[in-house]
Amino acid sequence: MIGKLRGFGAFWYDFIVGDDWLVGLGVLLALAITYAASRITDAPVWWIVVAAVAILLPHSVFRATRHRR
C-alpha cells in the first residue's frame, strides 16, 4: 500500500515538477513576488515573470548539460 502511494506521489511529482525542480520553484517564486509587488506598488510588475523565464531557461539547460558530462 505504501509502495503504491509512493509510486502515485512519484508519478505526480515527475509529471508536474519534471527533471528540474528549480524550474518549478523559480516559477512559484516569480509569481508570488509578482503578486506581492502588485499589491504594494502601482509600478509595472509584468517584467518579473519575464526576467524569471530569461534566467530559468538557460540555467536549466546549463544544469542539464553539466549533469551529462
Binding site: 519534471g18 503578486y35 509584468w46 519575464v50 531557461l57 542539464a64
Partner: protein, 260 residues
C-alpha cells in the same frame, strides 16, 4: 490571434504526443496481439476522456484571476520543460527523438515478455503497454488543452484541435503502418514550448495582478521574443557543445543535417 494560437499550440502538442503513443501501440500490436493493443488504446482514451470530463467543469468554476495564476504557473513549468528538451536536442546535447529506434527497442522488449491472459484480454502485456503509452503521453496534452481552453473560454476549440491532431496522426499511422519517424518532433516541441511559455507568462502575471503594456497585444511581442531567445540559446549551447568535444561537434553537425 489568441484563438488561432490556441488551436496551433494544442494541435502541435497533441500531434507530438500522439506520434509517440502511436509508436508504442504499433509496437505492442506488431510484436504481440493487435486486439489487445487496440483494447489498451481505447481504454487509455476512455480514461483520458474521463479525466477531461472531471477536470473541465472544475477548472471552469475557478474565478478568472485564480485560474490564470494557476494555469499560467502550470503552463510555464510545462513550457520550460518542453523548451529545455528541445534546446538540448537542437544544440546536440541530447540525441533527437528517433521513433524508428524507439519502435525497435519496444518491439524487442515486447517479444521477450511472456503471454498472460486476463478476462477478455488475450494478451495482458500488449494491453497494458498500449494503455500506459496512450495515458502517459496523453495526460500532459489533456492538461494543456484543458487549461488553454478554459483560459480562452473556448474548451470546444481546444478539444477540436486535440481531436484533429489525434485523427491526423491515426490516419497517417494506419496508412503508413510504421512509426512516423519523419515527423519533425523536435521542431514541433520547440514551437509548443515557445507558445506555452509566452501564454504562461501572460496569464500567470495577469493572474498575479500585473497589467501588460498593450494588453492582449503583448502576446504578439512575447511569442516571437521567446522564440528568438530560445534560438539564441540553441546557438550558444551548440557552440559550447562543439567546443567541449570534437565528437559532440560531429554529432551536432550530423543531427543538424538529418533534421533539416
Amino acid at each position: 490571434m489568441t484563438n488561432s494560437a490556441l488551436f496551433m499550440a494544442v494541435f502541435l502538442a497533441c500531434a507530438v504526443e500522439a506520434v509517440e503513443a502511436l509508436t508504442i501501440v504499433l509496437a505492442a500490436g506488431t510484436a504481440r496481439d493487435w486486439r489487445s493493443s487496440i483494447a489498451g488504446l481505447l481504454a487509455g482514451m476512455v480514461t483520458l476522456a474521463a479525466v477531461v470530463a472531471l477536470l473541465g467543469p472544475a477548472l471552469s468554476a475557478i474565478p478568472l484571476d485564480g485560474l490564470r495564476l494557476f494555469v499560467g504557473g502550470l503552463l510555464l513549468v510545462f513550457g520550460l520543460q518542453w523548451l529545455r528538451k528541445a534546446i538540448l536536442r537542437a544544440s546536440g546535447h541530447r540525441a533527437l527523438h528517433d521513433e524508428a529506434m524507439v519502435f525497435e527497442s519496444t518491439l524487442a522488449a515486447a517479444r521477450r515478455a511472456g503471454v498472460q491472459r486476463r478476462g477478455p484480454v488475450l494478451d495482458w502485456y500488449a494491453f497494458t503497454l498500449s494503455y500506459k503509452g496512450v495515458l502517459l503521453e496523453g495526460l500532459e496534452v489533456a492538461f494543456i488543452a484543458l487549461t488553454f481552453g478554459a483560459n480562452q473560454h473556448n474548451i470546444p476549440l481546444a478539444a477540436a484541435a486535440a481531436v484533429a491532431a489525434v485523427l491526423v496522426v491515426a490516419v497517417v499511422g494506419m496508412a503508413v503502418r510504421a512509426p512516423l519517424s519523419r515527423v519533425p518532433e523536435n521542431s514541433m516541441k520547440f514551437a509548443v514550448g515557445v507558445m506555452l511559455i509566452a501564454f504562461g507568462m501572460f496569464w500567470g502575471a495577469e493572474g498575479a495582478g500585473a497589467h501588460w503594456p498593450l494588453d492582449d497585444a503583448a502576446l504578439l511581442v512575447l511569442v516571437p521574443a521567446v522564440a528568438l531567445y530560445a534560438l539564441a540559446l540553441v546557438a550558444l549551447f551548440r557552440r559550447r557543445s562543439a567546443n567541449a568535444s570534437p565528437l559532440n561537434a560531429d554529432v551536432a553537425t550530423t543531427e543538424r543535417a538529418t533534421h533539416s
